[in-house]
């Protein structure tokens, strides 16, 4: 681990969590994972626990609506419950893109999760199709038969073998690396359109439907309205511009072009 490439800042005093569930949703195909986790953080009024910045993230800042700059960050939020498992939520602006950084980040996240006595890990991601799915299906895979069996039901198919290629990035690595630490981990993957400008709202909704049926968080899926979509659209523009920045070889800013996201 290149320890000095990663900076974890804790927000306030750490809560005593009771064997929490850990749910990851970072930018990726169709951004279904990010959209679902951002919605959960909002709905559950989750509190920030950690902020992670990294020398491997885009070397740029974003101008927010207060006209102030922000470094790209990944954040971990938590929410405590009385009658069910507490939850940790991992969301953010970016995820590492090269091999070593992606492995390091995933191991770093597992270190943090283990310190919180995490019970099991759920990663959320997309399955990129070549066209927009009318009713996106949700599949699951995991690092043990036990956890996969616990998540498959009439909303979720586990017949993923032969359906998809490798699961790239943090959503995949967290499962593989958790296995070496004997932590059960499952990935819920929703079908979505593989186009870089696509916002997979429908796919994210299906992921949330599965989580709600399992955990009864009381989240209101009908809230995924035009208004919510608008907010998410703004958040995702940040991600996209950070990523597209890599194409540019010149330091400085570039005037925005009007870009339209495909929302579905």
């Amino acid at each position: 681990m290149r320890e000095n490439y990663w900076k974890v800042t804790q927000s306030g005093k750490a809560p005593k969590l009771n064997k929490p569930i850990f749910i990851e949703g970072l930018p990726g195909i169709g951004n279904v994972g990010k959209i679902a986790v951002d919605f959960l953080i909002d709905e559950l009024k989750a509190k920030k626990l950690f902020e992670i910045t990294s020398y491997t993230f885009p070397h740029s800042v974003f101008v927010n609506e207060d006209n102030l700059v922000e470094l790209p960050v990944v954040e971990i939020f938590y929410r405590q419950f009385k009658n069910k498992s507490d939850v940790l939520l991992l969301g953010g602006d970016v995820q590492p893109i090269d091999e070593v950084s992606s492995y390091e980040f995933s191991d770093k996240i597992l270190d943090l999760a283990q310190k919180q006595n995490v019970r099991e890990i759920i990663t959320l991601g997309g399955i990129g199709l070549s066209e927009i799915p009318k009713k996106p299906k949700v599949y699951c895979t995991g690092n043990s038969k036990k956890i996969v069996d616990a998540y498959k039901n009439d909303l979720v198919s586990n017949n993923l073998y032969g359906v998809v290629g490798p699961i790239v990035g943090v959503s995949g690595l967290l499962l593989g690396l958790a296995s070496k630490r004997n932590i059960n981990a499952v990935s819920l993957l929703a079908e979505t359109y593989g186009h870089p400008m696509y916002l997979g709202i429908k796919g994210a909704k299906e992921l949330l439907r599965v989580l709600e049926s399992k955990f009864n968080y009381g989240i209101d899926l009908k809230k995924m309205s035009k208004e919510i979509i608008q907010v998410e659209n703004e958040l995702l523009k940040k991600t996209k511009e950070w990523l597209s920045e890599h194409v540019s070889s010149q330091a400085g800013a570039t005037a925005k072009k009007q870009d339209t996201n495909y929302i579905g």
Copy 2:
């Protein structure tokens, strides 16, 4: 930090600076930041304090007009004043281009700035437009409401939100990373033409006009004449050739082609 990738050499004895302002202007879009800082160093007869070389800079040397070679360097100059804040000026031939090097460089610069008890940081950069602006506007953003409010006036707009994408490179990172050290930092960005061969003299002049109105350095903007432009043109050729070198895969030198810079 890969400490051994960076070499900072101090020139002479360090002065005792009185809570200096730190102004950065490195090569970037339209090179407006570099042109403005190079002009300031010259006008203020600033003295060299630090020279920075790096294993992450181009692996090449340049032949100067004395037919001697020079490594690519970044330099920090200073100028002391009796009746106002001292100033530190960061200029140079290049800036780091990959993520990790850009973060490391920016943190290294902040280390040096903090040792000098820097009061606030101003980064200068360009906003690349798709055509040459007739009268370049200057915008500002920063890492606190306080400093942004202090810099916006009739010459400077702070309505940057939605106008530009991310601010890439050292001009952006210095703001984001300074925030974690509780140092106020602002970025002044002038509109310029986004073409790689463009010398944004007009944009640089607008940046200097803003600095002059704020600090009354007594710099003579009319001096940004053809003659000055010629000198700057030579300086920038160095930067461009160093950058274009990356395309070449063969060690050695290449005979110069006549290249014309767009000056404006």
Copy 3:
């Protein structure tokens, strides 16, 4: 060596091996080395000794036929014999692709081999031709005249000079680096078709024929039937998808397209 980039996990108690032969066959041109070693592991009922994962391997997981995820791994198997040298077999899903990782991996493998008192090293690889060879020839080269002479016979030509360019990757580096440790090492290279989707079953068979004539393992080459080919085809899809993943810039999974491998 970036020690923390490599993780070696031992399976069970280490056997006491008697000056074993070490045979390497990882994915590469025509995959002849991988196919041959996978077949040997199976035929010899070899037992797993080490599993190697690395931060330099693809940052993704694969969904296996049990619908569970697997990290990309490289493995070392062993088989003990009563009347001949024991054997260590190195196979796996991937091999490192950049310079530093390839050198580090090879030195790491030699460390493990030396601890097992390895007697000599055999690497298996392909010589990519521009068309499918009818009867693939096998060539050998090595890091000492003694070992090359010991392997050349009527099945193997050592007239490799001028026939091929550099031997790229682990099959080549193991020879060069073993030389510095005074370990004899030889490379057996079978002609194969250089197309990325080609499964060089015929070339692998010729490599196995050479090994069988030398060591009399009692392996049944006729078993390299359609059925075996089908299994190997599945294994290799994993490798190919992991490699093609590098093209993708988005995290997540992608729905499989039907791809046909050329088998020969």
Copy 4:
């Protein structure tokens, strides 16, 4: 310095050298530096002192005419004289190609040179033209006025300013980095054809003519006959194949195509 990326092996007992001249000639534009130094090593019957391998060199081996493999190496030779300065000669198969490796290698070389009390450093390189020069001119530049003045004469022009862009790679960096150690260093650059397959024999001859006029080594330039060219052609094929390997993404060997070098 990533010390473990570099391995320096000494050949035999170190001689006591008397303030030697250090001459570098590695592969690069037109390969004029490499050709000149290889010829010098041969003509002076220089003895090997150091062999350098590196994790940053191509991850492959070459099959030599004895059908044995060789790792890519860089070597330092020496020759002692009674009536003039001893000489150290740096030649090899490759030179590092990325920024950090090129800086590290150059600093490593300067460490070795300083331990031998090197008096001054001469790097040999090419100036790539867009066509084959009839009579290649030789230029010099350096890191001090003193050494440039010492080398310019009727065979060598020092009017290099404005003639070439940056001097890329080890030939340039050695000058820049030697300056920081107060070692005088000069670069002799011969015009040559910039095509990757070109062997700049004529340019190399002009470099040797300059060295001979300066040091009177008694080398016979007429020996740069067809025969010598043939040998050099073979040596350079190695370099070219190692470099072109980078294009290939598959491990293994590739059957040679008949390639013709342009010799001039």
